[in-house]
């Protein structure tokens, strides 16, 4: 090999060695298309993620993550989201050493096999009208961007945390898997009064409740006549009689605009 070429070659090798690892992390999942890794990733995904994102990745208590690539997220970006979580949301961090780099890459390799085209949410809906509907139908129980009731969960970031399908099902059909801290409960006190609300905490001897008038209060079970867990959510079901299909489209459009609330910004 002539000297010149050799020098050139070795320079390339050296610079490749220097930038190689960084580049590697930035570009591609090293386990993509590796069948063993994909299987391992499926197992890891089911254990760690499926409760929230669903076995099919379409989202339950978390967003649809089959569309992350088609909406422009990079492997590295996704890796970092999983490693660090999304602070102040339900999306937890998967920290080392419990989750190794390999674990995360393998789960992403599996997720990639579920990758779907960009969301096909119908373009229908008028968010402005949705916001109005929210104020009349929902705000008694839900806060959004700093205003509203407290019986139900704060929905200020529900647009990033739930898919449209999940929101639609929740509003139209209700759910038996109550969000923790919002399970329906009724206490009948010693004098026969009933207190209805959602359960904040419970042990063998007491229960802590936010009642329908947003009073937070503890009750001792041995001093109450009855403490009953409800079967139906404290949130009413909104059938087509209460909410037309086109109003539902508007409401969903509005909910999807809810992508986080910064309390340091002054409200009007």
């Amino acid at each position: 090999m002539p000297a010149m070429t050799w020098r050139l070659f070795s320079t390339v090798v050296v610079s490749w060695a220097l930038i190689g690892p960084a580049l590697h992390a930035q570009t591609r999942n090293p386990y993509e298309d590796n069948p063993d890794a994909i299987l391992a990733g499926m197992g890891g995904y089911r254990v760690r993620c499926a409760d929230c994102h669903g076995t099919d990745g379409r989202g339950v208590r978390g967003p649809d993550i089959t569309t992350v690539w088609s909406t422009g997220r990079s492997d590295e970006g996704l890796f970092n989201t999983i490693r660090r979580g999304v602070p102040n949301t339900e999306m937890p961090a998967f920290a080392a050493p419990r989750a190794s780099d390999r674990d995360i890459w393998q789960m992403l390799a599996y997720l990639k096999t579920l990758a779907a085209p960009a969301p096909t949410d119908p373009p229908r809906g008028n968010a402005e009208n949705g916001a109005k509907l929210f104020r009349t139908l929902c705000a008694a129980c839900h806060k959004a961007n700093g205003t509203g009731g407290r019986l139900g969960p704060d929905l200020s970031r529900i647009g990033t945390g739930r898919s449209r399908d999940v929101l639609l099902a929740r509003i139209r059909r209700g759910s038996e898997d109550f969000r923790a801290g919002f399970e329906p409960v009724t206490v009948t006190t010693a004098d026969g009064a009933t207190v209805q609300g959602v359960k904040k905490n419970e042990d063998l001897f007491s229960v802590q409740i936010m009642d329908n008038r947003e009073r937070i209060q503890g009750y001792e079970k041995d001093k109450a006549k009855a403490v009953e867990n409800g079967k139906k959510s404290a949130m009413p079901v909104f059938g087509p009689d209460r909410l037309s299909d086109s109003d539902l489209d508007d409401l969903l459009k509005y909910l999807q605009t809810l992508r986080g609330f910064d309390p340091t910004v002054k409200q009007q």
Binding site: D36, L39, A40, G41, M42, G43, G44, R46, V47, R48, A50, D51, P97, R98, S100, R102, E176, D177, E202, D203, L204, F205
Partner: protein
């Protein structure tokens, strides 16, 4: 003569003083250790109270009639991150307590005030799988023995807390650690290695209490050429885990140690280690002088659900079918309760004590009769009990007067999921995990259960909203002390299971039980919960 006499006298005086300084009697004799809990309540010197692990006190001052008059005397706070899982020792009105992160204390049992504190400098990035905990001291002479998270065994001076010797079990960088309370038998200190989730090859070790030199080692996975090595396909024995992290029992009559052994690794991946995988998920009976195996019984051959047999074995002599049998009682993580003959390791009784869906029964040959479809894969399969098991390392108790075995049981099912893992030294090596079954489909609950060890029949149960992870103490006055998962300290009538008294501690008793002893003529109850230790007595 006149001149010599005073000189001699001075010599004698000096010699006398020297002798007095050299030999104050050692605080704890081996006879005291072996005796278990004395009727005068003056000491608690081993993990289970006695070598048989009864965790049953002869004390009767606190009774079902007056237990509601218990009042707190003091509370001690660790000021250290992490929770108590310890069984405190007591001798001569002083408590010897190990805490999380290998911090330990001598505490005045009258007032809760610290006498000394020991803290081990631990390396960064420890890999202990399940919390930086410790389960208690062993003691002999003027020495306390403690295992460490970086897999050492140390001896501390009981008067000062300074280190007397420090023995290395194994390199912590390969995933070894130790959390077990040492058991002192004759002149030896018995300990074990944890790290079953990291592909270690675990062992039980005996160290000379005097010098800290290793006397023997029993590998819980047989090496090449040893019987049982062929129960591991290929090289899988090298990374098979089978850790030891819960103190066993000792039978002086047979000079036998009986220890429960942890899960095989990788925990969930069947293909990675075909065979029975001895002595994982077994109880082993070892000669206390040599560490030689006398017998073993494997509860769960080829376990794929992480069902360590690291529960506390309890020894007793029981009348069964008109005969007095020398037994070891064992409520296993796999959902079955066992009474074994402790001279042979053969089954006398074996029945489920919680809902179990993986095995129909334990066959006449001692092997579980498997129900197909319970080997986890990437898609997952639902099995009961879950990976935490029907019970776990939290201590059961045994009342010899009523011959009742008490255990905190769990009713939880899980979707087990598994995939092929790759072994990297010092990294987790489990090949799977579990996913909770939705509460709306299968709620998780628990109960404290009183079991007749002659038949495995349930005598009574006390139900919890969610499973308790508390140990259990019983007393000769008919009391049972335990806790629930919500921080309630509970006193039950041990004959009926009726709730007599409760107190909200603010944190659950986890993997530990109250203990009891007498200070200045008054029976005390000591309760470790979260980061606190609280002493109680009747007003």
């Amino acid at each position: 003569m006149m001149r010599i006499f005073p000189v001699l006298a001075v010599c004698f005086l000096l010699a006398g003083v020297t002798i007095a300084q050299q030999a104050p009697p050692a605080l704890v004799s081996i006879q005291e250790v072996a005796q278990g809990l004395p009727a005068d309540g003056s000491r608690w010197l081993t993990f289970g109270g006695n070598y048989s692990n009864h965790r049953h006190s002869p004390l009767t001052q606190i009774t079902p009639a007056n237990v509601s008059r218990l009042k707190p005397l003091w509370t001690f706070q660790t000021a250290t991150l992490g929770n108590f899982e310890t069984t405190s020792l007591v001798r001569d009105n002083v408590l010897y307590v190990t805490g999380p992160q290998n911090v330990a204390w001598a505490i005045d049992a009258r007032t809760g005030r610290q006498i000394w504190r020991y803290r081990r400098e631990l390396p960064q990035g420890l890999t202990a799988c399940c919390g930086l905990v410790n389960r208690g001291f062993g003691v002999l002479g003027d020495r306390l023995f403690m295992t460490t998270l970086d897999a050492h065994l140390i001896a501390l001076d009981i008067k000062t807390g300074s280190v007397v010797w420090d023995a290395t079990l194994e390199d912590y960088k390969t995933g070894h650690s130790s959390t077990i309370a040492p058991l002192v038998v004759k002149d030896k200190v018995i300990v074990g290695a944890a790290g079953g989730e990291y592909g270690i090859r675990a062992f039980i070790d005996a160290y000379d209490a005097q010098t800290g030199k290793r006397a023997w080692r029993f590998y819980t996975i047989p090496g090449p050429g040893e019987p049982g090595n062929n129960t591991w396909a290929g090289e899988s024995w090298k990374t098979g885990g089978a850790s030891v992290w819960v103190t066993g029992a000792y039978d002086p009559e047979q000079n036998l140690l009986m220890y429960g052994i942890g899960n095989p690794g990788p925990d969930y991946h069947s293909e990675s280690r075909k065979g029975d995988n001895l002595y994982s998920n077994a109880i082993v009976a070892l000669d206390a002088d040599t560490g030689k195996l006398k017998w073993h019984y494997q509860f769960t051959p080829h376990d794929v659900h992480d069902w360590d047999a690291t529960e506390v074995p309890i020894l007793a002599d029981l009348p069964i079918n008109g005969e007095t049998r020398k037994v070891v009682m064992f409520a296993n993580r796999n959902g079955f309760y066992y009474t074994l003959d402790r001279t042979t390791g053969k089954i006398i009784v074996a029945k489920p004590f919680v809902i179990t869906t993986w095995a129909k029964e334990i066959g006449a040959d001692g092997r579980p009769v498997l129900i197909p479809g319970h080997t986890p894969d990437e898609k997952g399969e639902v099995t009961c009990p879950d990976l935490t098991g029907g019970t776990n390392f939290w201590q059961p108790s045994f009342d010899p007067s009523t011959r009742t075995f008490f255990v905190n049981a769990r009713e939880v099912c899980m979707t087990f999921i598994s995939w092929k893992p790759t072994y990297t030294p010092g990294e987790r090596f489990t090949g799977g995990s579990g996913q909770r079954v939705k509460p709306s489909e299968s709620p998780a609950w628990g109960a404290l259960r009183a079991i007749d060890p002659a038949t495995a029949a349930l005598k009574w149960e006390f139900k919890f909203l969610s499973p308790s992870t508390s140990g259990i103490l019983t007393t000769a006055s008919g009391l049972l002390f335990s806790g629930d998962s919500d921080g309630n300290l509970l006193a039950l009538d041990s004959r009926s299971g009726k709730l007599l008294w409760r107190y909200q501690m603010g944190a659950p008793l986890h993997g530990t039980s109250p203990t009891t002893y007498i200070i200045d003529g008054r029976q005390h109850l000591l309760v470790p919960a979260g980061t606190t230790l609280t002493a109680w007595a009747i007003e």
